[in-house]
Amino acid sequence: MKVLSLNFLTCAVKACKSSSDSYPLHPQDAELVQDEIELNPDMLINVLPRLDWTALRTTSSELGFPALPEQAPTAEELQADEKMIRDLHHLLLETQISEGKLVCANCGHQYAVKEGIANFLLPSHLV
């Protein structure tokens, strides 16, 4: 799954949703795959307002990518900053997690990722 997915996912356990520790999930032992994808600046500008920037900075550094600026760029700033467009494109769209775990810092659960597919199914005591 694309790294962008991590910005949309939190712990599936209902009791965790109110805790700020449950988001973002933390990749562990993550194997990354890179695919070259044609750059589409409009796509990134469309997605920008939906990103949780603080969470994205965490994910980016945990996956070993260069640090992102503290503040999210505005649409105009992003449009004018070709390097930032390329960096975000590479991180969010070209990079996929193929194997590993996604860990909730609140309950400690590790959601396994196998062949790019994460498993968020819960046992009965957690639903």
């Binding site: 695919d35 949780d52 996929q96 009965s124 639903v127």
Partner: protein, 447 residues
Amino acid sequence: MDFVIKFASEHESFRLPEIEALAVLEGVNLKVKEYSSESPFCVVQLPSVEDAKKLLRRSVMAHSIHELWGTGATLEALHEAIKSQTPHLWPQYKETSFKFVVDSYQGAHSNEERLALINSFSYLPFDGPIRMSKPDNTFTVFELWPFNSVPLKIEHPDSIRLGRFVATSARDIIHKYDLKKRKYISTTSMDAELSLVTANIAHAAPGKLFYDPFVGTGSFPIACAHFGAIGWGSDIDGRSMRGEGNKKKNLPSNFAQYGLKPQLGGFFSADLTNTPIRRRRIWDGVVCDPPYGVREGLKVLGLKNPENATWLIELGVNEWQSPDYVPPKKPYSFLTMLDDILAFASDTLVDNGRLSFWMPTANDEEQEIPVPAHPCLEVVVVCVQVFNKWSRRLITYRRLPDSQVSKSDLEAHEKQRAEAAAANTGTTADDLNPFRRGYFRKFEAES
């Protein structure tokens, strides 16, 4: 300018909704002037030939679009119309190559008749060469005949039109995505045509993010990806996405088969009622075919009788991190699931984002399941595919901006949902699913 759209003669109730959705998506000012579910020919008004091309370029329900030169109840009336309305157009076609063809719906001509019909247009001052293959311009005589004209030996069509060909649609892609040629499918994979129409009506397009919470083998994200969107999906059954045994056939390999890998967002196992997706305005579109629960009752995560299954609970506590652990499931109400889908979509769609989902219902009005409603979602259109005793509907909503949503309606809706959830005491698959109940009674009235 007026144009004739030639539609496919199937899935009639999807034809105008698709064209209207595409007009909104492409920013084309469309006015439908004549349409009938009984005829494949539809007359629309559009600002320009360019707009006509834009309108059709993604359509799968239309075949082609033609500049309308005239309409008549008889051939004579058609010629009158052409002679009075189009002489200003004639000079443009004086030197170009051309051909005439006849498209008779529900009628037939002998070769001589067809030739005579075409020759009756010889007053048009076209001096260019006639070319059967790749002419500069193709003129089509569209005839609409009454039903059963051939066996009833009816002699004249009800209406005749002449149109100059402008563009074909994208209908060919139905063959590209044909399930028969797709490497990984299941019994509930949605057929290519209906998946593509769904993606069109839901406005899948480049730069947009689409999600299917009941993704199965991925028919919808694939169709959305074809139109340039990035597709995400999840399913309570991990095997449906991963495939069994053979690692080469699975949902991601379907994306690869069509060269759509760049558009693969991500897939994961999850139950919609326990989703890991954040309640944030993320998606441009949510499209799905929820489980009807006919063959297997509809299920969600959890235990039906937790008091009798302490060992199962304990197993979960101890084993759920292990790769082979399969969590227990319990029956769930179909109508509640529909409400859950609407609530999820209203929480996660961006303003004006679309929810399109398929829903079965009985044809008998008494047993019809009403279109589910949510204060944040406005119904855009309902399309129906009719089978013998039941139908399925494709229901499409638009996420209203919050400024257009009544707070008191929203509060009342949430209160009602909470009460319904508390009162929902049914536990068998039939109690919980009026459609399933009807299906097994063959939609006879309940006694």
